[in-house]
Symmetry: none
Subunit: 229 residues, 4 copies
DNA sequence: GATGAATGAGGTTTCATTCAT
DNA sequence: GATGAATGAAACCTCATTCAT
């Protein structure tokens, strides 16, 4: 490695460090007041940086949000891979349920991330109807982070599908439905759980049911679903 | 009935008519661009009314949104009651599944309403952390429609719980879990379905699975859940 | 005239009054620092009005500039018509030279107006090449004043052409060139004079020649041009 | 010549090369979007140089523009000298008309240059009224290129005046007006032509008159002007 | 009750210029 | 000499809400 590349890599890393500090701040602010009410001013304040510099790294508020979404999916993927790794010796059904568990823990712990992922999906599928939404969509879809996300967005889906297939193959999953359908039903559960969590805010119960118990039951349902023909 | 009250009731009705025309317009606009991007100007335009008058009837944009949410819950309740009525001769499980069916059809047809309900719940549970959110919450919670919703918000929950209990009583529901938990799992499903629908926008498939098939399967899962011990 | 229409016309006039006050202020500011450096803030200040109100009347800085341009052309037309009226008994050539005289006085007295007219022409002919220019062009061309100008922009041209033809008919103009060409040469003279005046700023001489003498000579040249075959 | 000076002259030449590359880029950008909309960033991009370096060579955007203006006048002078050289054997009037021809061709081919010259003149004569304009003027007038231009700005004027005098002397120019006045009238023509060209953008006709024909006529008028007493 | 006008506190983004390395 | 990063002062425009009539 020449000095040149060392320098350049150091520089790159430097930029990454700054970007990350900004994203940290953005997360803080977004989490506090929501994307719509977040002000670039405040984010800059939190980083301890001028607004101008902020825009040097992220040329749009939306882009900054997409950076958060990217982190969100990255983290999710990492956690899923971990779970996969820990369960590769087990039967498929075990693995699938472990993945669901990851999803649910994630959606409970990383509420901002969960919402970012949902928002990203929303944007991703919208063909841009309303004027404004259309404009925003345009701008976002040219951003760097948008593309970065594109590359990793399907990993969760693919992982789960693969494990369902493995479960079918090893006989631990008996349902005859298409893997995609099974995924969807699980995904809906997770999203519902997510949304209810994010809606619930800091509460620990919902209609007198403690959230912890709830999660356990969700997984049991999934098990039943997969095991029965 | 005196002339006085006749006049006043006519006046009241008059006011109601206006309010409803406004809410109609608001729905149109909210549905088109979302709450955040909706402009009071445009709503006034759609009603064919001055902005000043608009504010005579609704003193806040949020309040107007709550009026939409109120309608949303009203309609949902009405549909649920209907389903209940049609299934009162059947076993409890049948009735519960019918209610789920209503939820899902509703969330697919009335996307704006679904989101309004979710947003309302979000607001309802939030204790208001961020400055702005706090301010908004304050304002909203004093509004007329907020209180109106309070009175009917629990109806869906109560209806479903009652039918689950009935099902348990008549033996058609064998699960030993608490009705509230069963409700929650179903509710999560519905919310997930809702969110995915609203996210999906105008698409008819999701990962190659047609939405219609999806709904049917959701209900089957619920049936399995309720029937198995 | 009913009360209704009286009201409405009064209202209209009221709006016109305000608009005119705004345009007055805009002229002051534009003349002082040029269009590019003019700030809406300052214009609002000069009118004694909030920025918001300013935007109630003119939704774009460019549009406000077009309002100035509209005034400019209106005034020019008025002055041309006057000159025409005063010379209708005279031969055509006399009339044409009188019109030129109007142009030149105008460009010397109303520098801002002259520049506005030139800028308008620039915009009018540009098919929008550069990104920004294109964007601006779009916005402007939908403005009310843009259309208003469109209706009167050709009057100067038409008036002069008509008089040239009259001069040819009555024998006072002997040049055999097409009227349009004669117009163009005169127009170039005027524009040059305009530009030199606006460039010269407040100076009264240019390379030691007093501006007054200069104008007279310009007209003599035109006369020569028209009279010779 | 010592090594020292050799080095320094090589360095100087090096600097000149860089400066010229920068000016090349600046011309490209200015021509594309106009001075006001030109961004130093883009210019730096086009040169393939950092913005910091750009500012090492030109400490102001305006100064860079003046460099362009300097080039513009330099080129104009060169072309005028050429024409002069080609016509030194001819009578004065011939020469004067040839110079006019140069002016007109120039203003048609080098639109950016023409505008730069006009802007320079504008700045040169303005005593700086508006705050901003005043500030700009201050800064510019201390710049290197400003002074460089000062030295050559009068060449066109002087050349033409000299030829007019020659024409009067050799009898080919019969007009009894002062040479300065004759120059002015011609200059106004040229400026008008310039402005109309730059206004016209890419169009080839103006009110149905082809630009080529127009130029020829302009010169005929000038001839008439000079030949008649 | 209704209306058009007014308000003003932001909001995002831009960019010439400067600085530290 | 060169570079990328930093700065900050504006600039334009938005829009929920209020007010005078």
């Amino acid at each position: 490695m020449t000095i040149k590349t060392m320098n350049s890599s150091k520089v790159l890393r430097n930029r990454d460090v700054k970007e990350n500090r900004i994203i940290d701040a953005a997360e803080e602010v977004f989490a506090g007041v929501g994307f719509a009410n977040a002000k670039m001013d405040e984010i800059a304040d939190v980083v301890g940086m001028s607004k101008g510099s902020l825009y040097f790294y992220f040329d749009t508020k939306e882009n900054l949000y997409m950076a958060v979404a990217y982190r969100a999916i990255q983290l999710l993927n990492k956690l899923l891979y971990q779970a996969l790794d820990e369960n590769k010796a087990e039967k498929g059904i075990h693995s699938v349920l472990a993945l669901m568990d990851v999803f649910m823990n994630y959606s409970q712990r990383y509420i901002l991330y969960s919402e970012a992922i949902l928002d990203y999906m929303s944007l991703n599928r919208s063909s841009g109807q309303g004027r404004i939404k259309a404009k925003m969509t345009m701008a976002i879809k040219e951003s760097v982070f948008w593309r970065k996300i594109q590359d990793i967005q399907n990993i969760p889906f693919n992982l789960v599908i693969a494990e369902i297939k493995r479960g079918k193959a090893d006989g631990s999953i008996k349902s005859r439905e298409k893997p995609e359908l099974l995924y969807l039903i699980a995904w809906a559960n997770v999203v519902g759980y997510m949304k209810l969590n994010s809606t619930g805010g800091q509460h620990e119960t919902f209609h007198s049911i403690p959230i912890t118990k709830w999660k356990k039951y969700h997984i049991e349902v999934a098990r039943k679903l997969l095991e029965s023909e």
